[in-house]
């Protein structure tokens, strides 16, 4: 099974190498058209856990998301679907079909004629499909949907924040790599290799590029760095979020909010002995801090799928700006800010409790 797939891949490459002129013409056609093909945009999909609900809400079968094969006519004919249905789902107009047929010329006709004669054979059809689905090459099974690529684990890397006796492996998903090579970070092959703990090869990172190309990711060449390299660049998302959780736990257990709250209350009461006024001010502060904490917890930036998220609604304009901050810190900044806000809330709560004890003592006396 795997050997056949490898043979098919080699055949595709051979055919592609021999037909350079035709590929150039096809690329020109794609650039000229305003609407790029559907499968080129498949690379931009978010992790699968965000697509599952959206995917099932679409009122048509998922297998129809696959791109057309060598024109709509061949695809619809092979799947035995009427032409009207394909137009409705794929939003393809008849003039475009004519244009494609006309611009193809004799080359495309010669390419399609023998395949249409053998339409009954499944092996020939799979061969035809693989030739057109060049960006997506699967070795496991043909039934795997392209939507599942982004949620898959590309590799596991050893953690940088582990002691000798506790080595931890963190999972790096395809979507994470996609986010790292995209804005705002725009990592190149060299930096990406450092993040994935890969050694530099003599071929200039060709192996890494090829492996990413199989997944549909295009890694640009050159020294392209839009963002400054910080200490957080070397961390993967799961590791950064794990560190944030550890920090939140330390803030919860080791940060002495009680003593700080009591001390602040004593100093403020020494300046202004109005207890009721102070208590009211603290309650107001607690409310504002709660609103701020709730707002920050509504961040829905796509991150590693191994981290539960809060799915509360948020203004898209706010989300757009919060995502820059979250992507730059790989998820640490948001969780850490929430943890610190929780400690502030605890301080305020302890202050209110202390004032309540003082007030009750005064009332009793």
């Amino acid at each position: 099974m795997f050997n056949r797939k490898l043979m098919e891949c080699s055949d595709d490459e051979f055919v592609r190498g021999s037909q350079c002129d035709e590929e150039d013409e096809e690329e020109q056609q794609r650039q000229s058209s305003q609407r790029p093909p559907f499968y080129e945009n498949m690379r931009t999909f978010a992790p699968s856990h965000m697509h599952i609900s959206c995917h099932y809400d679409i009122p048509y079968p998922p297998h129809l998301i696959q791109p057309p094969v060598c024109g709509v006519s061949t695809f619809t004919y092979a799947r035995e679907f009427p032409v009207s249905n394909s137009q409705q789902f794929f939003n393809v107009t008849p003039p475009q079909q004519q244009q494609q047929q006309g611009t193809g010329g004799s080359g495309e006709e010669d390419y399609c004629i023998p395949k249409s004669e053998d339409r009954d054979h499944s092996s020939n059809y799979s061969q035809v499909a693989t030739k057109q689905d060049r960006p997506f090459v699967f070795f496991a099974s043909d039934c795997q949907s392209p939507l599942e690529i982004v949620g898959e684990v590309y590799c596991t890397v050893p953690g940088r924040t582990s002691l000798l006796s506790s080595t931890t492996k963190y999972r790096v998903t395809v979507a994470e790599i996609q986010r790292r090579i995209s804005p705002p970070e725009c990592l190149n092959a060299s930096l990406l290799g450092g993040i994935l703990r890969k050694a530099k090869s003599k071929d200039g990172g060709k192996t890494l590029r090829d492996s990413l190309k199989k997944l549909g990711l295009t890694l640009p060449a050159g020294r392209r760095k839009q963002a400054n390299v910080t200490a957080w660049t070397a961390l993967v998302e799961e590791e950064a979020i794990h560190m944030a959780k550890e920090f939140a736990l330390v803030c919860e257990k080791e940060f002495h909010s009680r003593e700080i709250g009591i001390y602040l209350t004593k100093t403020s009461l020494a300046i202004d002995p109005d207890v009721v006024k102070r208590r009211t001010a603290l309650e107001m502060s607690r409310k504002v801090v709660g609103e701020l904490a709730e707002l920050l917890s509504c961040d829905r930036t796509p991150l590693t799928p191994y981290f539960p998220r809060n799915m509360l609604p948020i203004d898209p304009s706010v989300q757009q700006h919060l995502s820059h901050f979250t992507l730059m810190t790989h998820g640490f900044g948001n969780v850490a800010m929430s943890a610190v806000l929780e400690s502030v809330k605890l301080m305020i709560d302890e202050s209110i409790k202390y004032i309540d004890r003082c007030c009750s003592q005064n009332v009793w006396r």
């Binding site: 290799g193 706010v318 757009q320 901050f325 850490a336």
Partner: protein, 535 residues
Amino acid sequence: MSYSDYPSDIADYSSFDNMMADICNPSSSSSSNRKRQADPAPDNFAKIPAGMATQPLYFPIHYPVNSGWQSFDVNQVYNNHNMNQPGFGWVALPPPMPHNLQIPDQNSYKPRSGLPVPPPMAEFQDVNGIQQNPNEIFKNAPITSAMCTPESDISTSTNLTPDQDSAQLPLTEQELNEEKNFVVNIESPGKLAHYFLPNVESEQEPNEHIPYPYAKSLFPTFGVPVSSDGNVVAEVVDGRLPAVGTRSKYDITVDEIRRRCGAPEHMNQSALYCFFRKSKKREAINRVKQVLTVHNIPMRTMQRQRKVTCFSPFLEEEATALARDLDSISEEFLPINIIAQEMLEKLMSSGNNLDVCHRMLKNTTATITRVIKTLEVRQPKITGQEEKLKGNNLDLSYHNFSLITHGFGHPNSLSHYRSYLSIVERAVLLCEKIQNGQSLLSNEDVIPGQKPFERMSNEYFVEWQMNLYKKKLAKQMEEVEENKSQRGEHQQIHQHQLYQQHHTNTHPPMPLMPPSQMNLCPPITPIPPQNVYYY
């Protein structure tokens, strides 16, 4: 000895909670306690029977046992048997007894049947345990029993007149001034430990320089002797978070090694290899042992590390650099203006008036400012930073937090607090603008059809557009309903808001529709162009 001296002697050292009370509120009778320094402590110390130290405490400790420095074992220190064994319970040698400690005779430890016992009132004990001094606790004990009967209200009110003043003013101006004038010696390292553990070099210093509240306090965090070679660089190692092309070297000082070997982490030799970035080879083992031997850092062979976090492998300089980078990212990428505006809108939508919102935000600004001040005036001891102390128990709290996070927690918290302060201050400005009649600047509008992220998926972008469309539609409906001036229509507005809140909180988002069906909807607002949908 007479009965009047018995309660104060027991309360001075038998209860750990009273020590905390001393730290929080320096007692007014410090002059009388200082006179007892002339008594020879070693002679009286030998007469303490081992069995007396295990007696139950009169006042329970009101702190959780599991927390680090608050779970200090009082009996362990004052037990004659354990005190004679070197290294028991400590990483280093046990500290000597405080000079100010006064140990009474053996006869005074016998319980007397006539001693008044306070009633078991939990609330009152909580108040006593935190606020009042040991002497005041026993002075108020007879009054406590009188407070139970309503007939004695008149007599208690007359007797409690000075206590009311102390309750209303927990810290007097004089005490605040004394606290501010706390002198910190910059030259010597480990200032806080200096006052707890007198070193060989500092034995000749007079006892008058030791602040009274800290003479009785012993914490395991500082159970390491102070030496003059704390700032000596023991090793230079590579960082753990370098990207390709950026190499970084960090220094490990002797004091840092002592802090890692001490509480609360108690690293063993195996963990130090990781700290030194060395493998467990003969040369590395000899190197680590040499460092420990030269600088006289004691370490038990079978000691295990108690707390392991993600910050354990980090050096202090590295953790500080990590916090610094996060601070720069926050300054550059955190949308303060947008968050402030959104927060203000939420506060106003929850039924608050503009004046109330302004007051709330002002109070929050004051609270956060106070917290920031407590952080800015203090700097726990880490490599490359000058230690700053204020002279109260908050120094210990922040020091412990800094120890566990290897110096990351303090600057990171300070950075976050400053960000919150900026957000709240911005919200105050926006609120004042609205009060003055000025209109707020609208957020940057998103270009129709443009994705917020270059790699955003189509489905997610459609969902994002739908949410934006729904929000605009809701705003238009609200504007239409606000134009109507009838009372009945105001009720409809209220119901609409309730329905909107209920709908947004409980119901999941609507399922996505194909573009053909979306085009059939009536265009109340301009729908984004069809180029967005690539189906």
